[in-house]
């Protein structure tokens, strides 16, 4: 019980600020000592201030300015040679009918489906693996943990290369599927959405002639039929890759939380005669709730940034169904020389991710609130 209250004691006022009342001797000595520390403090942090300021803070402000320009990357964007267009670039993304908006909305749709599938899958897999590895009776826990965590530490470019090989049309995955009698798709060239495939499979809709009500009407540059496509088959390979590489990291976070559950709590549940499912539902899962929320929000933040895998595996193809905002922003800038639009997409993406981070902060605050409650509950 005492261990649960310790963090709060530690998280008190700023270290050293209130420790000792200023005695006369102290008051005499402190200005000099603080002065020395003051100089050294700035010497110590100056590389950080320089590098993070020059390559993080300043660039963001520069990009904010460029997102208001019509700039092709040739001239100096800060000399006034490029046209100042105000919010036109942002308007082009949301309000003006045209190729840019269609592409941007397509990328948002793709990433949304990607998030909706990848986040629950990676969370569930990570939780499942953590529970399995945490089994008391399991032998060789360390080896299993290593195996599941290893994909997380490798280069995204290298594992994307491996997945390209595995998911070729006559590759390893399709050979496996053939063994069980399934004709695998042509993964990287299949632009059909999962929802379309499912509707086709149950015989409801023929994707080659979608219902006119959906195909002929739409919003924001895409027809309803396109909005409702689901992730394309090609996108599913990227989802599988990312679920595989991220679940190990999240498993570790779950494992740390599992090991924090007081042994006494599990023991008392056991003595109460609860079976394993009941223990899982009423003791373990409630204890994991804060970490669960954290993993989900970290997943939401991470999945909006998918870039490397798209770059290596699909370059946004087929039919733009793996295009993501991050990749579109890159392509707009470096391929089409529309840096203003590219920068604007970056900031829309930043806004999306900041909203997710805000959600995370709220969740963390809730977690701290719960922690404060715990000693009282334990005392009962």
């Amino acid at each position: 019980m005492s261990t649960t209250t310790e963090p709060e004691l530690g998280a008190g006022p700023e270290p050293g600020s209130e420790r000792r009342p200023p005695g006369r001797l102290d008051r005499l000595r402190r200005p000099r000592r603080d002065g020395r520390q003051g100089v050294w403090g700035w010497v110590f942090v100056s590389p950080m201030v320089l590098v993070l300021g020059l390559f993080l803070a300043v660039p963001v402000i520069m990009a904010l300015w460029v997102s208001l320009l019509d700039w092709d990357g040739q001239s100096n964007p800060f000399s006034g040679a490029a046209d100042f267009v105000g919010l036109d670039n942002y308007q082009g993304l949301f309000a003006e009918d045209g190729l840019t908006r269609t592409l941007f909305m397509t990328s948002l749709r793709n990433n949304l489906y990607y998030v909706v599938l990848a986040v629950p899958l990676q969370t569930a897999l990570a939780l499942g693996l953590a529970l399995a590895v945490n089994q008391q009776r399991l032998k060789g826990k360390g080896a299993f943990r290593t195996a599941f965590y290893f994909p997380s530490v490798t280069s995204s470019i290298a594992v994307s290369t491996v997945f390209l090989f595995l998911f070729q049309s006559s590759g390893a995955v399709n050979s496996l599927l053939k063994w069980v009698g399934v004709q695998g798709p042509n993964w990287f060239t299949d632009a059909r959405g999962l929802v379309w495939v499912a509707l086709d499979w149950i015989g409801l809709v023929d994707p080659s002639s979608p219902p006119a009500a959906l195909a002929d009407h739409g919003v924001l540059g895409l027809s309803w039929w396109e909005w409702l496509s689901g992730p394309s088959i090609a996108m599913c390979t990227i989802i599988m890759l990312v679920v595989w590489t991220t679940s190990g990291t999240f498993m570790l976070m779950f494992l740390a939380a599992l090991q924090d559950i007081p042994e006494a709590q599990l023991e008392s549940a056991r003595l109460d005669g609860t079976n394993r499912w009941q223990t899982l539902r009423h003791v373990i899962l409630p204890a994991l709730r804060p970490i669960l929320f954290l993993v989900i929000t970290l997943g939401l933040i991470g999945t909006w940034q998918v870039f490397d895998q798209v770059y290596v595996m699909s370059q946004g193809q087929p039919a733009n169904t793996t295009l993501t905002p991050a990749f579109l922003s890159y392509n707009m800038s470096f391929k089409d020389a529309q840096y203003g639009t590219g920068a604007a997409i970056s900031f829309v993406l930043l806004a999306i991710i900041l909203v997710m981070t805000g959600v995370q902060r709220l969740v963390l605050r809730e977690r701290d609130g719960r922690r404060r409650l715990r000693p009282r509950r334990a005392a009962r």
Binding site: M48, V51, R137, I157, F163, L164, Q168, M313, Y330, F334
Partner: protein, 297 residues
């Protein structure tokens, strides 16, 4: 199993009770082993395929026995015609990762110590800024980084590749957390003995920080070795290609062609091996760093 429950049952009952449990345990371990094997299967297939010929890799991608067994791809990478690029990638990756690692270990711990311990004007503000910097997603910084590098006239140089990576916010945060956990008394004692800030840092604090510095070293090496987006937007010429950008260039845009996968997979494998070795040797440091990086509040 408590002593009272075992003593009250006959040996026979005990045996039957223990047996299913033992069998369950065996089944559980077996199932988990299969899951782990499936998890690592992509790497197994990758390694095996690097020893295959092109036709064999295309014809039987699943077979785990290269027949004929060949190391042609490895030879090709280091000496063949298109292999001429690979040693450049490898050299660049090594040079940049080592430089960045040294830079981060020195500069991150300096900043982390100052933020944790030294009293100076603006420390609170800097800490807040540091934490907000960590919230900025890397992908959003691609175009901004390109802009500033272009503006400074260092586009497509080693300076642009290395300097922006020399300090990283998460590393500073890890070091700051560590220094805050060290008891103050030791530094106080040194101070009373008349040691200055620099001396205390160098001969009292840093020696205590060895475990944290090792974690930082490993995470920095892994991070810069696997870095991709930063190099994509700050370089363009092939002489500055790293293992990540070179491989990505080599692999992307050849969709579905299905050719020369043994060569590509060999390059990918060689790009994975250094981090894999470090991972298996220093695993617990990855674990610690992973959790610290994720729980940045």
């Amino acid at each position: 199993m408590t002593a009272s429950s075992t003593s009250s049952t006959t040996p026979q009952a005990r045996a039957t009770r223990r047996d299913p449990r033992g069998r369950l345990r065996l089944i559980g371990t077996l199932v988990m082993s299969l899951v782990a094997l499936a998890f690592l299967m992509p790497f197994v297939i990758q390694v095996v395929t690097t020893f295959k010929t092109d036709p064999q890799a295309a014809a039987s991608p699943l077979s785990l026995l290269p027949n004929p067994f060949t190391v042609a791809t490895y030879r090709q990478l280091f000496s063949g015609s298109e292999g001429a690029a690979f040693p450049t990638w490898l050299g660049n990756s090594l040079f940049i990762s080592l430089t960045v690692t040294v830079g981060r270990v020195v500069l991150d711990s300096l900043a982390g110590y100052a933020l944790a311990r030294l009293r100076f004007r603006g420390r609170g503000l800097l800490t807040v800024l540091l934490i907000s910097v960590m919230a900025v997603p890397g992908v959003v910084l691609m175009i901004p980084k390109f802009l500033v590098v272009q503006y400074l006239g260092i586009y497509d140089t080693y300076t642009a590749m290395i300097v922006p990576l020399l300090v990283d916010a998460v590393g500073i945060f890890i070091m700051k957390q560590f220094f805050e956990s060290v008891p103050r008394e030791i530094e106080e004692a040194a101070r009373i003995d008349g040691a200055g800030v620099l001396r205390i840092y160098w001969s009292v604090v840093l020696p205590m920080a060895k475990p944290a510095l090792l974690t930082l070293t490993i995470l920095s090496f892994q991070g810069s070795w696997n870095e991709f987006t930063h190099f994509v937007v700050t370089t363009q010429s092939s002489e500055h290609a790293t293992l990540t950008t070179g491989l990505a260039q080599f692999v992307s845009g050849s969709l579905g062609s299905g050719t020369r996968y043994p060569l590509k997979l060999t390059a990918a494998l060689l790009a994975t091996i250094p981090v894999a070795i470090i991972f298996f040797v220093f695993q617990r440091h990855f674990v610690r760093g992973g959790n610290a990086g994720a729980l940045k509040e």
